[in-house]
């Protein structure tokens, strides 16, 4: 069984929900990322989404745009990030790691080269925001053959027919984008999310993670009542932005937010 599936199965047995933090790899410095991954796990993270920076992050708001710019200022490459995951795996063999980003930095490596290198580094899943299932027909079997889950997005605008298609195309979990907008947008509407998650559950078998608009323990708790996983990104990356000049403070600040979310979600 793959790590992501095992993770959701274990959590379901414990009647808990997955806490899934997102940070951009190499932000604000390459050396920060691996220790931060370990500290996020200590603070209660179940799965880590590691952002692969891209020069043109079309689906991201200003917070993650700036994170990409900081990471790219010292040329954080996809190969650097695979190296980070490999180092992380030396002492953590269980926490799933998902690379999240855009297609072009993956495509430039070549699908085969990327998938085998990612698998070897210990990556578990790949989420490419500008790659809908219709365009993934070539890359998906390659990811699959390398044991990598392809995680696809479902949006508030996704039709029922498409939810079915996405549910069949993806593996690991589905990422429900809770609002129309870019990352770090306004707060989500919990009732709306609850009703959409129920619809998705009826149409797709995969666990459902919800992201976009989760900012604090309260919203994390509310979403954890209806979804299988809670993704938090911009709220954490904000802390990296705030402490970019004193990176020693980053892990503590992010750890505090995650611990509070963890406690609220488990209560």
């Amino acid at each position: 069984m793959r790590r992501i599936e095992r993770c959701f199965e274990r959590l379901a047995g414990e009647n808990r929900k997955a806490l899934i933090p997102f940070v951009t790899a190499g932000d604000p410095q390459k050396a920060v990322t691996v220790p931060l991954m370990h500290d996020m796990v200590k603070a209660g993270a179940d799965i880590i989404e590691l952002g692969v920076p891209f020069s043109d992050p079309m689906a991201d708001g200003p917070v993650i745009q700036l994170a990409c710019e900081r990471a790219l200022a010292h040329n954080t490459s996809t190969r650097d990030i695979l190296g980070m995951v490999k180092t992380f795996r030396e002492t953590d063999t269980e926490t799933p790691v998902v690379l999240m980003g855009y297609l072009n930095p993956v495509e430039v490596m070549g699908y085969e080269a990327f998938a085998s290198a990612a698998s070897e580094a210990g990556v578990d899943g790949v989420l490419l925001v500008d790659l809908p299932p219709e365009e993934a027909l070539e890359v998906k079997p390659i990811m699959d053959a390398n044991g990598l889950d392809m995680i696809f997005l479902v949006a508030p605008t996704t039709s029922d027919a498409r939810i079915k298609l996405i549910g069949e195309a993806g593996s690991g979990y589905l990422y429900y984008v809770s609002l129309k907008g870019v990352t770090g947008s306004a707060a989500l509407n919990v009732d709306e999310v609850a009703s959409r998650v129920e619809t998705i559950r009826n149409l797709a078998k995969l666990p459902i993670g919800v992201g976009f608009g989760i900012k604090d323990a309260e919203s994390a708790q509310a979403v954890s009542r209806v979804a299988d996983g809670v993704v938090v990104g911009s709220a954490l990356v904000n802390q990296i932005d705030k402490f970019q000049k004193e990176p020693a403070a980053i892990n503590g600040a992010i750890g505090d937010i995650l611990s509070a979310m963890r406690t609220a979600m488990d209560t």
Binding site: D56, Q65, V108, E135, L153, T157, I166
Partner: protein
């Protein structure tokens, strides 16, 4: 080229031109693109829609635009006859309005009260603001902060037309960043907003529908050539940034085997310097802004900054159909640098009394070289895609003149 494909049959049903094109966007936009595709499929052959479009082109844009024989310049160059397709004479001064008229009609049919656009030189922004004013649509235009600075006149024109111009300060602060920001706006306001993309790039169906609206250029040029020159042209030349004026001219001739075609990219300081905007000449295929196409990128797949004296060509990608036409060998893609374009700008202005846009000047610069290798019985049609009034400040600046 072994077997020539039937160029009119592309894109295929999934929006691809061979390996290029497609629909690479975040899930939130897939529904809106499906809706647009369905609406366009329904309307594109609808007689009433065609009639409305043709009416606006005739009475609002002022079409057909003339095909003008640049006799004096041709003689001076000494070779083929150079004909200019006068898109500069369109309302708003460039070919861009052909497309905004079409897309605004689609927006009206879809009941969207708000339109957004990205713009580089400001020509597409002006053309969008213009049709928005006429139809009473709310209009916001995203423009790179650097372009806002170098195209002040067009910025003010858009404001006078009632549009709001939003300077984009992320990334390289030029056209690609404006397009990122317009995509972000669209994903946020997808219910009430129509995104009027200005070139033959972006996710399917944009490369197709923008091409179809711009094909009026080539259809007219074909008919005018037969009537005025008595034959089809031997060669077509057009500048290529995103490539909408070029595809508009080329497409109706693609199945005419005897017509050679040249797309001219911006070589900026020179291809060899790396400071240019010529993905077809010196880039490689990748995925950006919703489609797979030739891009300017580094070894890590990051998009690199482009350089051109003309803001409208300062874009690291190109329409996917051009990528395909390059690979199958139907169109030759070449480049002209800043100096060559500026020289052509000055030459046409002085010899023919026609001041071309700096974008179109790239096409003129190459046409001049090409014509010199041809004979006086031969004919070249150059797409004079826009007029140069908007570039006067840029050229004055280069001449060291301050107003």
């Amino acid at each position: 080229m072994s077997e020539r494909p039937d160029f009119s049959a592309f894109p295929d049903a999934s929006g691809h031109f061979g390996p290029y094109g497609g629909c690479f966007v975040s899930e939130t936009l897939m529904g809106a693109l499906d809706e647009l595709k369905a609406m366009y499929e329904r309307l594109k052959d609808d007689p009433q829609f065609r009639a409305d479009f043709d009416y606006d082109l005739a009475h609002y844009v002022g079409r057909p635009s003339p095909l003008y024989l640049a006799e004096r310049w041709s003689k001076q160059v000494g070779g083929a006859n150079i004909w200019l397709k006068r898109e500069d004479l369109n309302h708003t001064g460039a070919h861009k309005v052909n497309n905004t008229i079409g897309q605004a009609l689609l927006a009206k049919h879809m009941g969207k009260p708000r339109v957004i656009a990205e713009t580089g030189a400001g020509q597409h922004g002006v053309a969008t603001a213009t049709v928005a004013a006429r139809l009473g649509l709310k209009c916001q235009v995203y423009m790179g902060a650097e372009d806002v600075e170098r195209q002040k006149l067009n910025v003010y024109r858009m404001k006078l037309l009632g549009a709001e111009v939003i300077p984009v300060t992320s990334g390289s602060k030029t056209l690609k960043d404006a397009m990122n920001e317009a995509m972000r706006d669209w994903v946020t306001n997808v219910d009430d907003t129509f995104y009027i993309i200005g070139t033959v790039a972006g996710p399917h169906p944009y490369p197709q529908l923008v091409r179809d609206f711009q094909c009026i250029i080539g259809r007219e040029a074909r008919e005018q050539s037969l009537k005025q020159a008595g034959q089809l042209p031997d060669a077509l030349v057009a500048c290529v940034g995103g490539g909408s004026n070029a595809i508009g001219l080329f497409h109706p001739f693609l199945n005419d085997d005897g017509v050679a075609m040249y797309g001219v990219e911006a070589a900026g300081d020179g291809i060899e310097t790396g400071r240019h905007a010529a993905p077809l000449s010196a880039g490689r295929p990748g995925v950006l802004h919703g489609n797979r196409t030739y891009l300017m990128e580094d070894d890590n797949g990051q998009i690199i900054e482009t350089h051109s004296v003309s803001a409208g060509l300062d874009y690291p990608g190109v329409g996917p159909e051009h990528s395909w036409l390059k690979d199958v060998g139907r169109v030759q893609y070449v480049a002209a640098d800043d100096q060559e374009a500026l020289a052509a700008f000055r030459e046409l202005t002085r010899v023919e009394g026609i001041m071309p846009a700096l974008e179109s000047s790239h096409a003129l610069a190459y046409a001049k070289k090409l014509a010199a290798t041809m004979s006086p019985e031969q004919n070249i049609v150059v797409n004079l895609s826009g007029r140069g009034d908007k570039d006067i400040l840029t050229v004055a600046d280069i001449d060291g003149i301050k107003f």
